[in-house]
Symmetry: C3
Subunit: 127 residues, 3 copies
């Protein structure tokens, strides 16, 4: 089964926790693997810690330092940094599901990663 | 079903769009997730924009800047940079398929990433 | 089927080859894709070369150089570097299985990547 979600991002670089929206659909899944997929070339999906908001903040800050927006790029749209981050983080994550629950570690959340916002975005869930 | 593809790369660092070769095999798939897998340790598979060839060019240029080939590495083959890039980009991508079509975004293409070419390479498709 | 494995890491940054432990469980799988998943936010799973131990060593050294532990981060635990590496490498890999064997390339091994050890860790295998 495939579901499409939409979300509104509010900054150029931002991590948005989408774990609860995904978990809400999985009650009837006994066992399997879900795929969460970003259909954009300047966004990604990743799994990391959401307990301390400084973690996504530090990740985005360090990324910006390694791959600044202005950096002698050729692509005219001025968002090559976002394309690079998208490929480094990856367009999808997979999570194992057991007894209707995402088999995530205690500190793990699923984040939608915006690297060229703010925009209206979407992502797909397949299970 | 598993299919093996071969391809010839022509540069040390190069992105090759393999979307059409994959799509051509999927007409009979009603719904599912495909896996595209690189069986090499100095290549990868990624999803990004192919509309403007400057996008892959900028990605490869920035990578070369962050992870130069000559950089005080120990591995005698002189391609540690390629091994690092392979792990950062990842050995596989997954794409959802619906009604025989890859559920990619408007600007998304699947790229085979060569980081230590030119060579004859292969990749696997599982669906 | 889901299996949980435990392992003990011995350094802060370390790659541990887990290919044999995974392969040992797959004899009865005729065809499919396995998922190897790290349920921690400071570890990852990757595929790379294990023939020359200098390859994982060079990867970890270069990562440490690009993303040093002490780097003006806000997260109080002092392991933001590990969180960043976890997202760059990814929380899971998928490998195609054919006739009970992992369809890996000649030089490919599956590594559990520790970025904030030493600790007792676990990983999941789904097939």
């Amino acid at each position: 089964m495939i579901r499409q979600f939409t979300l509104q991002t509010s900054k150029r670089n931002e991590f948005i926790d989408i774990t609860a929206r995904i978990q809400a659909l999985l009650e009837e899944v006994s066992e399997g693997v879900i795929t969460v997929f970003s259909p954009h070339t300047t966004t990604a999906v990743t799994i990391n810690e959401n307990a301390d908001p400084d973690v996504p903040r530090d990740i985005l800050k360090k990324l910006e330092e390694l791959i600044p927006q202005r950096d002698n790029f050729s692509h005219m749209e001025g968002n090559s940094d976002a394309h690079i981050k998208a490929s480094l983080f990856g367009s999808s994550v997979r999570v194992i599901v057991k007894d209707g629950k995402l088999l995530l570690g205690t500190w793990q959340s699923i984040f939608f990663c915006e690297f060229d916002g703010p925009r209206t975005r979407k992502f797909y869930l397949q299970f």
